[in-house]
Amino acid sequence: MTRPPKRTIAPIFWLLFGAGGMLSALFGTGLVIVTGFLLPASPPSYQAAAAILHNPLAGLVALATIPLFFWHGAERLFLTLKDMRAGPRPLLALISYGAAAVGTLVTILLIFLMEFGS
């Protein structure tokens, strides 16, 4: 019997991609309608918008959706760049997953500040 092949870490990114894809399929359209069309028609004040995030539940929802959308996009971007042979694979992974990681960290930081800051 031959030795089983080496595992890849692809499942981590694939599950994040899948979770983000599920959320964007469920809520993406609604979010685009609300934030892209309804809110700009009568924009709320910054305070009013920020007040929503003071609610811990709203904070959790934002924490789940925003980073997972990033990871969903990152996986698509990575696979597209890889298929286009746009560069060495580790570099492409670093660019796409790195962008999602930075986006995730910034999101966590901002939401944390809004929840617990002043």
Partner: protein
């Protein structure tokens, strides 16, 4: 139609005879055809009447043997179930299956594909073998329905010709082998899931797939190999995180 029997169509066939040709090149043949004539029959008429050296694989003529897969106007199809009336007025481009080395004319090398099929333990591995006197391994209709579609694969390799990821990485196990794997892993009489899954956790296993989906479009038997691949991405992903919890029963 008065001149029904005098319909003609031009076929551009990719020829490659290793002893004579520097590289593959298209040769034009014109055939007379009728409404019910398949591409395979056209090739046979060329071989009989115009050029006996034309090589192609075929056997059953009714889409169950999987031998006559080829690129017809750029799409992987079985020559026996593709009809000239649907390709008229032509010319029609006929080439060997994409992503495979050409052996001669429309014949491609299948050794690598066969090796992949063999690698995934393509047989039922029961938990414990029973003596014949103990009777059959019973199965309910619902248990059979769980894997039955995947057992319809005829190994025609159209899905491999359609798959851009197999084209980019010939080591990718590919859609057909994954459908066969699911055929056995989904069988209630089988206990070999662990061994088969262990073969596909790598980069050349299930993770080379990027859900393009052309494999399922190309399949002439509606096997839906993309579904098999996706199910096993889920299986492989869960195993990635839960492997610490699984009970090892290797001796």
């Amino acid at each position: 139609m008065a001149d029904r029997d005098r319909l003609t169509i031009e076929l551009w066939i990719l020829r490659y005879r290793p002893a004579q040709d520097e590289e593959p090149h298209f040769v034009s043949y014109t055939v007379t055809y009728t409404e019910e004539m398949s591409v395979l029959e056209a090739l046979q008429s060329i071989k009989d009447e115009q050029d006996g050296s034309l090589s192609f694989r075929w056997s059953c003529r009714m889409a169950i043997c999987g031998s006559c897969g080829m690129m017809i106007d750029g799409t992987p199809k079985l020559a026996c179930s593709t009809f000239l009336r649907d390709l008229a007025p032509g010319p029609v481009k006929i080439a060997p299956l994409e992503n495979f080395p050409i052996e001669r004319d429309l014949v491609v090398t299948v050794a690598d594909f066969v090796k992949k099929i063999e690698s995934i333990y393509p047989f039922i591995m029961p938990k414990e073998t029973k003596p014949v006197e103990a009777g059959e391994y019973l199965q309910t209709p619902a248990q059979m329905a769980a894997y039955e579609p995947f057992s319809d694969c005829i190994n025609c390799m159209l899905c491999y010709a359609a798959c851009p990821q197999f084209g980019a990485n010939p080591d990718f196990i590919g859609p057909g082998a994954m459908a066969l794997l699911q055929r056995y892993n989904g069988d209630s009489r089988d206990a070999g899931s662990r061994e088969r899954l262990d073969l596909i956790h790598g980069e050349d296993g299930v993770w080379s797939c990027t859900a393009v989906g052309l494999c399922s479009e190309a399949c002439p038997k509606l096997v839906d190999p993309a579904n098999a691949v996706n199910q096993n991405k889920t299986n492989s992903a869960f195993d990635f995180f839960l492997r610490g919890l699984r009970k090892e029963n290797h001796s």
